[in-house]
């Protein structure tokens, strides 16, 4: 009897849980999954987007992309950004969060605002600023030449390697503060007494960081990793606004190339092909996120 009552109470609670998550779930189903299903159908088709025809063979768009040199270049570029930029940015973000979480630090608000400022600046200005700083006659060149590091002005955005480096720097500049905010919020959820206890146990700063901070921040780290991987694999704005994919497609990202194919910017739009490439990106992100969650999530 008593058992039964408890069961129904649990069932009631579980039902309440379902009610809470319903609005969000329904919205995502309509605004993300339903369009995705439609996009998948389109990815099997070809022709102008007003008059799509079934492909023959049906997966032609999918097999096609592997012999598309520009697309392969864009995959390579995107992964290069991912491998270099994400770890640097996240380590820097944790470091900054840790420093800013120090009880004794003064002007905390000021520093926090400064570090966060880049991601509050509008995209147009950010692109303009980096373009101007790294221009052949820009400030960076002036400084490097004066210091004797460079002999003459260098066209940073005009050479493949340096253009990629500028994009990576710009990404780090813009997004470190953003990630730092998550870590800071996570750190502030850790009670100070935990640290006090560690100190009493004789742990030094490095040990506390690895044994307390990182484990307690794990959910946040997993989240920011997934976010960053996802954001980088879908990188679009920087490629468009900073270099327009150039010189000669050496900095173009997957999303940029997909966008060009979707709306026919600089070419002819091929919607079916573009959505097929989208699913390629989707699968990549899903795999990486899955690995990440398996590695990072120790709760279950």
């Amino acid at each position: 009897m008593k058992e039964k009552k408890k069961m129904s109470l649990l069932a009631k609670q579980s039902a309440a849980g379902w009610v809470f998550l319903t609005p969000a779930t329904i919205l995502i189903a309509i605004m993300a999954f339903w369009p995705m299903v439609q996009a998948f159908i389109m990815s099997l088709q070809t022709g102008s987007s007003a008059n799509l025809q079934w492909n023959d063979p049906i997966f032609n768009n999918y097999t096609r992309m592997f012999s598309d040199k520009v697309f392969m270049t864009s995959v390579g570029n995107t992964f290069l950004y991912l491998i270099i930029q994400v770890p640097i940015m996240l380590v820097l973000a944790i470091l900054l969060a840790q420093l800013l979480n120090n009880q004794h630090l003064r002007f905390k608000g000021f520093f926090r605002t400064c570090v966060f400022l880049p991601c509050a600046t509008a995209l147009v200005s950010y692109a303009l600023i980096f373009k101007s700083l790294f221009a052949t006659d820009g400030l960076i060149n002036a400084i490097l030449v004066n210091l004797g590091i460079l002999e003459q002005n260098y066209n940073f955005l005009g050479h493949p390697t340096s253009a990629k480096a500028v994009i990576i720097l710009a990404l780090i500049w813009r997004w470190t503060g953003y990630n730092m905010v998550f870590y800071l919020a996570g750190l502030q959820n850790i009670e100070y007494s935990v640290y006090e206890a560690a100190k009493i146990d004789g742990a030094n700063g490095w040990q506390t960081f690895w044994r307390i901070t990182v484990p307690l921040l794990r959910p946040t780290i997993v989240m920011t990793f997934i976010m960053s991987i996802n954001g980088t694999l879908q990188l679009f704005d920087e490629s468009v606004n900073l270099t327009n994919g150039g010189p000669s497609n050496s900095t173009i990202t997957m999303s940029h190339y997909i966008y060009n194919n979707t709306f026919g910017t600089g070419g002819v739009s091929n919607f079916g092909y573009a959505t097929a490439m989208c699913f390629f990106v989707f699968i990549l992100v899903a795999i990486l996120a899955f690995i990440n969650m398996k590695v990072g999530d120790t709760r279950d």
Binding site: S67, K131, L157, G158
Partner: protein, 439 residues
């Protein structure tokens, strides 16, 4: 109290998401003051999408004022300003892809090179001009070639893309030349002069943005050659193209050809930054040149060099007005277009004065405004000269893949400058283009 507000909000959000879920999210709940649909409301109102507040928008305003004053005093033209021509293209693409044209305006201003593909891809988006009252013989043949599809006229020309070669006469003089030496000369001669100018003044006689690639296209059109032949890419076997690419690469190495990274560097740093002694582009570049007030009176314009010598003519850019299938008053739109851009010198005079928009309508070139000498260009009557040059532009084979071809050739040029083999790079461009075309 706080809780109450929140629960009201929550309830509201829930009902709302349910409503949206049924797909019946009625306009009553969501729409604010914004008008339904793109097409104008009133009997005498037309809407049009355009994109440059310093260029084609003043031209449209001039046309609207002209029509309002002389034909219909109740007429209103509502201009929907877009950020770039790309946005107009995207609006049409999105509408066509969704199969819903009801948000398109009555008319759109559209880039010439794209329109053929848009008409063939989205035939339902347009209204052919049919019996519109325009004497088409008054317009440059090359310009009309774009907007005429299967013998049917779709667009009314607005601005003119005729290529001008503008040179700094003072710098030429310093190097011991005059603009006459550059008129009708060969490209070899041009390169020689370019070197002399660069050695004397440190300024480049030619300029092209590295991601722009329109220069090779213009040079080829001046030779009467296209990147396409019989609908197929015509690149590695196109001796003219190969020769032009080799010349451009040589000029880049000599310092005669300046290559800024992007379009904005081209206009803002190279031209406005006073780094060039010459500019070769569609005549719409003129207002940019004129931004450097200190150089007033030092510029003059002429036609393009060619490989074998003789004056070359080409066209780059330029757009026309098209009536969409969503136009709520086709007769009014036709009448407006026929009266203004189809034959009113008043419209064209004001478009030139306010926006620097030059016509391809031949009679417009005869008006006083066009005949006036322009102080910035040493009192040369450049506008009349440009209209005149426009009539000489040759028709070359066009393709839906025009911009793709340009991109791949441009990429090849950058790669060759960075050390790639010429024929290999061009072969790659041709392969990539064939790939995209599905050949």
């Amino acid at each position: 109290m706080k809780r109450k507000i929140l629960s009201v909000l929550l309830a509201g959000a829930m009902t709302f998401s349910l409503a949206a879920c049924g797909g019946s999210g009625d306009s009553g709940s969501g729409d604010d003051a914004a008008a339904e649909g793109g097409a104008g409301e009133g009997e005498n109102t037309l809407t049009v999408m355009a994109w440059d507040p310093a260029f084609n928008i003043p031209a449209l305003e001039a046309a609207a004022a002209d029509y309002k004053e002389n034909v219909n005093e109740d007429f209103e033209l509502e201009i929907l300003e877009q950020a770039a021509s790309e946005d107009v293209e995207r609006a049409v693409t999105t509408a066509a892809s969704a199969g819903d044209y009801s948000n398109l305006p009555d008319m759109v201003l559209f880039q010439d090179h794209y329109i053929q593909r848009y008409v063939s891809d989205y035939p339902d988006a347009w209204t052919a001009l049919g019996d519109i009252d325009i004497n088409w013989d008054d317009f440059a043949a090359e310009k009309l070639d774009y907007s005429t599809i299967d013998g049917e006229h779709y667009g009314v020309p607005v601005d003119n893309g005729t290529v001008v070669c503008a040179y700094r006469t003072d710098l030429l003089e310093e190097a011991g030349y005059t603009i006459d030496d550059l008129t009708g000369c060969t490209w070899d001669k041009f390169m020689e002069i370019g070197k002399a100018v660069y050695d004397k003044t440190g300024k480049a006689l030619l300029c092209m943005n590295a991601d722009g690639n329109d220069l090779p296209y213009m040079m080829m059109q001046a030779e009467g050659v296209s990147q396409f032949k019989d609908g197929k890419p015509y690149i590695t076997e196109n001796e003219t193209l190969v020769e032009i690419v080799e010349k451009l690469v040589q000029m880049a190495k000599d310092g005669t050809l300046l290559m800024p990274n992007s379009w904005s560097d081209y206009t803002d740093k190279a031209i406005q930054g006073d780094q060039v002694a010459g500019v070769m582009n569609g005549n719409w570049i003129i207002p940019t040149i004129e931004k450097v007030e200190a150089n007033s009176g030092k510029w003059e314009i002429t036609s393009m060099p060619t490989l074998e010598g003789g004056e070359g003519y080409a066209s780059n850019g330029g757009s026309s007005l098209y009536i969409t299938s969503n136009c709520h008053n086709v007769d009014l739109a036709k009448d407006f277009l026929a009266y203004t851009f189809g034959g009113s010198t008043e419209t064209y005079d004001n478009a030139l004065r306010d926006g620097g928009v030059i016509s391809t309508y031949a009679p417009a070139g005869e008006t006083e405004v066009y005949q006036e000498g322009v102080e910035y260009f040493n009192n040369q009557p450049i506008y009349a000269d440009i209209v005149e040059m426009g009539t000489n532009v040759q028709i070359v084979e066009q393709s839906d893949y025009h911009y793709s071809a340009r991109n791949y050739v441009g990429t090849a040029i950058v790669n060759i400058i960075n050390g790639a083999d010429t024929m290999e790079a061009l072969q790659e461009a041709e392969d990539q283009l064939n790939f995209e075309m599905g050949n």
